[in-house]
């Protein structure tokens, strides 16, 4: 399933913040975690993660620090700042509100959602 680009972009910030809230991490591991959490549904182009990380760093939500990997190579680790935690809480509330709204409407129109599992002429 291809997830809409805008949705991927919009969910990137809360996802990265939340993954880093679990513990400090680095680019490759963050992507692995995303893939794991989404069961492979959410595919990012690997290179695109880094501009997102840099933006979050510039905004002061996360902080990067150069360290070494287990093989002795240079690796940049990120951790969430207090600002980032606040931001994550905000994101979480917003997404929960969106999610709750959508859930309600899915219940009301449950049939088309199931029908969509069959190949239908696309109208998107």
């Amino acid at each position: 399933m291809d997830i809409n680009k805008d949705l991927v972009a919009a969910s990137a910030t809360p996802l990265v913040l939340a993954i880093l809230a679990e513990g400090d991490s680095y680019g490759y591991a963050i992507l692995k975690r995303v893939s794991e959490l989404s069961g492979g549904e959410l595919q990012w182009t690997d290179g695109m993660l880094y501009p997102v990380l840099h933006r979050l760093e510039r905004q002061g939500h996360i902080k990067g620090k150069w360290g070494t990997s287990e093989t002795g190579r240079k690796r940049k680790y990120y951790h969430v700042t207090a600002r980032g935690q606040t931001q994550l809480t905000e994101h979480r509330e917003q997404w929960q509100a969106v999610d709750a709204t959508l859930r309600n409407i899915w219940l009301a129109v449950s049939l088309p959602a199931r029908l969509a599992l069959w190949p239908l002429p696309s109208h998107a």
Binding site: T45, D46, Y50, P51, R73, K74, K76
Partner: protein, 459 residues
């Protein structure tokens, strides 16, 4: 394990592929070397995981690169996040590598020391009882000697010149010190003013020899010096502008508390101006490959305007039937016009691809050249007709000589340029002519400095 089976040959080629991929990334302006390292760590992580899943080195690399995404797209994303990186910044100390950083720091210290040395040199004569406000004539004659030797020392140091190369500039400066100071000039003498004015032009040649290092004999070395001179002028003008604002504001805020700092500023101003020349030279050296040259840009802007102004001038002169009013300054104005046209020509040449075919701008330059020559011919005819009446004063002979020197260059340049437009001569011959002509200006200036006082009896 698959890694062992594929052997060292495969891992070597993997390293080579990663190295190549890294060099592609590095070429992107929006991606810094730290980003490259971060992305490389990612790529290696992916490759290791894929190889662990049984792919060969090559396959793993291909898949990992594919997953990383198209370079253009990544680069665009980086550019969006770091838009400031698209503005080329002049970074004096390169942040990428350790060794050049040390070198640039040493260079900074050398430049600072030389800039201070020019200021000190300006102050040294005061120890011997001379004062800038009183002995104006001494300072006027020697002004260029307070800075140009230090500028030359900078290039001797920077280019690690051998004694054989720097001995000629050194001799030239020694001779300049002698000729600027031994002549018994009369008070208010014209030849003294001319000598002061021409000495920097004469001494620009030894500076050029030091700048070009061992390449003064080559076309390219001289052309680089022409480029350097233009950029130096622009950078110096910019620094001077900032310096003017600084001193104006300083005087203003001290004035607000009732303290007059102008005498202090006046005392130190020449030292700052001299030091600024060294700093400007260093900036031009540091930026040469980083930021586009400004002189050719200004040339592109002003060549059409000057060509237009000159054509209109000639048209007006013919239409109204007015001759050139031969006053004192008439010839000097036309000398300046020729200098300017020469400058426009030089900096057009300096930025031009010699292999490119003629284009509209070349035609414009020829129009500029021809109209300048015609205007100058009118001026020369007007002056020549009455030169015996006016008499041969030092100023007039100097102005006339300059005119001949410039006319000689521009006249032959025009011939070569028209030849180029018609496809008869290669553009390179125009370039060669300009670089070959460079010493002529300095030689003429040296004649004015050394010969004129003798010829005109120090009048």
């Amino acid at each position: 394990m698959p890694e062992r089976v594929t052997g060292t040959g495969s891992s070597d080629s993997l390293e080579g592929q990663i190295e190549q991929w890294r060099s592609y990334l590095r070429r992107r302006q929006a991606i810094r070397s730290a980003d490259v390292e971060e992305l490389e760590d990612h790529l290696r992580g992916e490759v290791a995981a894929l190889r662990g899943a049984g792919l060969s080195g090559d396959e793993a690399f291909l898949v990992a690169v594919k997953r990383m995404g198209a370079l253009d797209a990544i680069s665009n994303e980086f550019a969006r996040e770091h838009s400031e990186r698209l503005w080329k910044q002049m970074v004096i100390a390169s942040p990428d590598t350790e060794q050049p950083r040390r070198e640039t720091r040493i260079e900074m210290i050398v430049v600072f020391a030389l800039a201070v040395a020019t200021g000190v040199a300006f102050k040294v004569p005061e120890l011997f009882g001379l004062e800038p406000g009183v002995d104006e004539r001494f300072y006027m004659r020697n002004f260029s000697l307070f800075v140009l030797p230090f500028l030359t020392v900078y290039f001797v140091w920077k280019r690690r010149l051998s004694e054989r190369t720097w001995v000629w500039p050194a001799l030239a400066f020694a001779a300049a010190v002698v000729f600027a100071n031994v002549y018994p000039f009369e008070t208010g003498s014209d030849t003294e003013a001319l000598s002061a004015l021409h000495l920097p032009i004469a001494l620009w040649l030894p500076v050029g020899i030091a700048y070009a290092g061992g390449r003064w004999g080559q076309n390219a070395g001289r052309m680089d010096f022409v480029r350097f001179s233009g950029e130096l002028l622009i950078y110096f003008a910019l620094i001077a502008l900032g310096g003017g604002v600084l001193t104006g504001l300083t005087a203003g805020i001290f004035g607000a508390i009732g303290i007059d700092v102008e005498p202090v500023l006046e005392d130190w101003m020449p030292c700052l101006v001299l030091g600024a020349v060294i700093v400007a030279a260093w900036l031009v050296e540091a930026k040469q490959s980083v930021i586009e040259n400004m002189a050719p840009v200004l040339t592109r802007l002003f060549t059409p305007m000057f060509a237009f102004a000159l054509v209109v001038f000639l048209g007006t002169m013919v239409f109204t039937g007015r001759g050139i009013d031969v006053e004192r300054e008439a010839l000097i104005i036309f000398d300046l016009l020729l200098v300017l046209v020469l400058g426009l020509l030089l900096y057009s040449i300096s930025a031009r691809d010699a292999e490119a075919p003629p284009e509209a701008f070349d035609v414009l330059l020829v129009v500029l050249l021809v109209s300048a020559l015609v205007a100058d011919a009118f001026a020369l005819a007007a002056i020549g007709a009455r030169i015996s009446e006016f008499g041969f004063t030092p100023n007039r002979v100097a102005a006339l000589g300059e005119n001949v020197v410039l006319l000689g260059n521009l006249g032959w340049s025009t011939v070569l340029y028209i030849g180029f437009l018609r496809g008869r001569t290669p553009f390179a011959s125009l370039e060669r002519w300009q670089t070959a002509y460079l010493p002529v200006y300095s030689v003429w200036a040296a004649i004015v400095v050394v010969g004129f006082p003798l010829a005109f009896g120090f009048r």
